[in-house]
């Protein structure tokens, strides 16, 4: 049971972080389908930092450095989307999809190159980071508390404040609802949209890092992040683009994802004798079901997905 709570919390943290990323981007008016690719790149940045960090580094410093590298890589990668969608008015779905393919491919090519340069026989796409990962975890009895759970919670609280209580957040939302009106009162729509995309890159990259460090101590980059970026988008829609609801939605989805990891610990579930594949499928099936119920009256930002053109009325 404790294990279930632990996994639920950590997966919920991932989903909440990434969904918040999507939320910032969409409030600015840019649909970020590319979160999946951003997660992979952020995970790669963090994994490589963990791999190369000297063994004796103090735990808080490790946490800080690894987090920073994930966030930075995520932001840089999200600029691919930002530049194409904002400056060049590209189709946001198309560019986002390109990021999703680009991220894993680039990660595999890079990791393989690194592995092969270390030893010619090592052609795997796996990064091992067992030692450094311990810095993220504090054991409280049998419960492994992960600092990222706290970070995700703080990110949720901060997002609520930023979106609803600051000038920046309200302006950002204005750019996603009615960019022409925002522009008419002197807000630089392009700059706000870049800000939204960059924040989503930072949170998406961090989410990717949390995902690959949840439970395992090495990651095979050929697997990408198994559709988590899209689950996060479902969480975002279920949460109706509001931070508090996103947090609750993330907990629900996290629970279903955690079940597939730990269902063997429950006699009742084992007794049902369902194939494990079914549990793997569960988060996706549930999110589809949830979308059916909430999408009809969805409150998406009105201008999302439409490139802003100053000259257009």
């Amino acid at each position: 049971m404790l294990l279930l709570i632990q996994y639920t919390l950590i997966f919920a943290s991932v989903l909440a972080l990434v969904a918040l990323g999507g939320c910032f981007s969409e409030h600015g008016g840019v649909i970020n389908i590319g979160l999946e690719g951003i997660m992979v790149m952020g995970a790669l940045g963090g994994a490589l930092m963990m791999k190369y960090i000297p063994a004796g580094t103090a735990a808080p410093l490790i946490l800080l450095l690894v987090t920073l590298s994930s966030v930075m890589i995520g932001m840089v990668f999200s600029l691919f989307l930002g530049v194409a969608a904002i400056r060049f008015k590209a189709d946001q779905t198309l560019v986002g999809t390109a990021l999703n393919l680009l991220g894993p491919a680039a990660a595999v090519v890079l990791v393989r190159a690194i592995n092969m340069s270390e030893s010619i026989d090592n052609v795997s796409s796996t990064v091992v980071y067992g030692e450094a990962k311990k810095a993220f975890v504090v054991s409280i009895g049998r419960f492994e508390f992960n600092w990222f759970m706290l970070i995700a919670f703080l990110a949720l609280a901060a997002s609520w404040v930023v979106l609803y209580k600051t000038k920046f957040g309200l302006r950002l939302c204005a750019c996603g609802e009615h960019p022409q009106a925002a522009d008419s009162v002197g807000i630089n729509v392009y700059r706000m949209r870049y800000a939204g995309v960059l924040i989503s890159g930072a949170l998406g990259g961090l989410g990717g890092l949390v995902y690959i460090t949840a439970g395992v101590s090495e990651w095979k980059f050929e697997n990408g992040v198994a559709g988590f970026g899209f689950l996060a988008l479902a969480v975002m829609i279920f949460g109706q683009w509001k931070p508090v609801s996103i947090g609750l939605a993330a907990l629900l989805f996290g629970l279903f994802r955690a079940l597939s990891n730990v269902y063997t610990g429950f006699d009742m579930l084992v007794a049902l004798k369902l194939p494990s594949t079914l549990y793997n499928m569960l988060p996706y099936a549930i999110s589809l079901l949830v979308l059916v119920f909430v999408s009809r009256k969805s409150r998406a930002p009105k201008a999302e997905g439409i490139p802003y053109d100053k000259g257009q009325r």
Binding site: L101, A106, V108, R112, M116, G227, F230, T277, S287, L291
Partner: protein, 378 residues
């Protein structure tokens, strides 16, 4: 006296010419980026590696072997063509069918299960694949039409659901010692697509079958349907503005669902063409959705969203994807071609901007020319 000569300027203004130019530019830039990445990894073999990707089957010195592997590339390209037609068809109607990958999986599951589990002849397997995949696509369409569920997200969820379902289904017809499904050639020869004597042209490559002409035929049919029929016009009108379409008396909900069904059916046909020639077996422990459907997106956009253009772009994408396996694996990984095709998709996002820019450039030139002429008169 002016006999309406086609000047280079007028030629450049043609939409088709611009599209081809833009696609070629995307390819060149994509290859350039791939080359740069290879240079960063290991400067010594980068040029050879790019050449290996571009040469693909020409890697083999003997013409017989080269033609044989040319056939294999064509077989894979025909499946890819059908996937990209699936993406293209939906996109023309304003839907982004990222679910082609999942519909491909469903098609694979249906065709292999009908062939291996139920021992049915090939045409029934083919139909089953198309029908099952059309159903999978139809689900996304119906969710979009009746519940306003974003088709991209529902398609992604269905991709994963389809993958796990098909893994479970095909586990019933797998070989005992390996995670692969049993080969069609030993279990049920009747499920293999008829060869039509095509292997003779490809040094006896038995995988070249009916699928090849079928895929090209599908491309032509999609073009006719979209450009020459009332039904296709209605679909495109729904895609451009569904409220206007409803105002004109079109059934916009039905159109959405039908579009996704046709789109899904095309991807399913692609899977049938691929798996019913026996070129590959399904691995029932797969944990990622096959890349065929995603590459279909690349091919569709690289082909300028034109069914005939897609024939060439699908071949090109498959050519470099297959070529990736010939790079020197001591230095690089074959995923470099995935990276190149992903970057090509990214660049396709800039095509619209490129056209705008080109037109503006031409306008400027024309204005200068006419100013010069005016000046000459005065």
């Amino acid at each position: 006296m002016n006999k309406r000569r086609i000047t280079p300027g007028a030629l450049l203004r043609r939409n088709g010419v611009q599209t081809i130019l833009a696609s070629l530019l995307c390819i060149l830039l994509g290859l350039l980026v791939g080359y740069l990445v290879l240079l960063v990894i290991n400067p010594q073999g980068a040029w050879d590696a790019i050449l290996a990707i571009l040469k693909n089957f020409l890697y083999y010195p003997s013409p017989a072997a080269a033609t044989k592997y040319f056939g294999t590339t064509l077989v894979k390209a025909s499946a890819l063509l059908l996937c990209s037609l699936s993406v293209l068809f939906a996109y023309k109607v304003g839907l982004f069918n990222i679910g082609a990958a999942g519909q491909f999986v469903v098609g694979a599951g249906a065709s292999l299960f009908f062939g291996l589990g139920l021992h049915l002849p090939w045409y029934l397997c083919l139909l089953a694949a198309v029908a099952a995949a059309a159903l999978a696509g139809g689900i996304s369409g119906a969710l979009k039409a009746y519940f306003n569920v974003n088709e991209v997200i529902s398609c992604i969820m269905l991709n994963w659901i389809a993958l796990y379902c098909v893994n479970m289904l095909l586990a019933t017809v797998k070989e005992q010692s390996t995670p692969y499904t049993r080969p069609l050639s030993s279990v049920n020869k009747g499920a293999l697509l008829p060869s039509l004597g095509l292997p003779a042209f490809f040094s006896g490559n038995e995988f070249v079958t009916l699928g090849l002409p079928l895929a090209v035929l599908a491309a032509v049919l999609v073009w006719v349907l979209l450009e020459k029929t009332k039904f296709g016009y209605e679909l495109k009108a729904t895609g451009l503005n569904k409220h206007a379409a409803r105002y004109c008396g079109m059934k916009e909900k039905r159109n959405l669902i039908v579009t996704m069904m046709i789109s899904g059916g095309l991807a399913g046909l692609g899977a049938a063409v691929f798996y019913l020639c026996g070129i590959e077996q399904w691995m029932v422990q797969q944990t990622s959705v096959p890349a065929m459907g995603f590459n279909g997106i690349a091919a569709a956009f690289l082909g300028g969203l034109n069914p005939i253009g897609t024939i060439f772009s699908s071949y090109f994408i498959q050519h470099i994807t297959s070529g990736g396996s010939y790079v020197d694996t001591g230095m690089y990984s074959s995923q470099i071609s995935d990276l190149i095709s992903a970057f090509i998709i990214y660049l396709c996002g800039f095509v619209l901007f490129f056209k705008l820019w080109l037109n503006r450039l031409l306008d400027k030139r024309d204005r200068k020319l006419s100013e010069k002429q005016e000046g000459g008169k005065a």
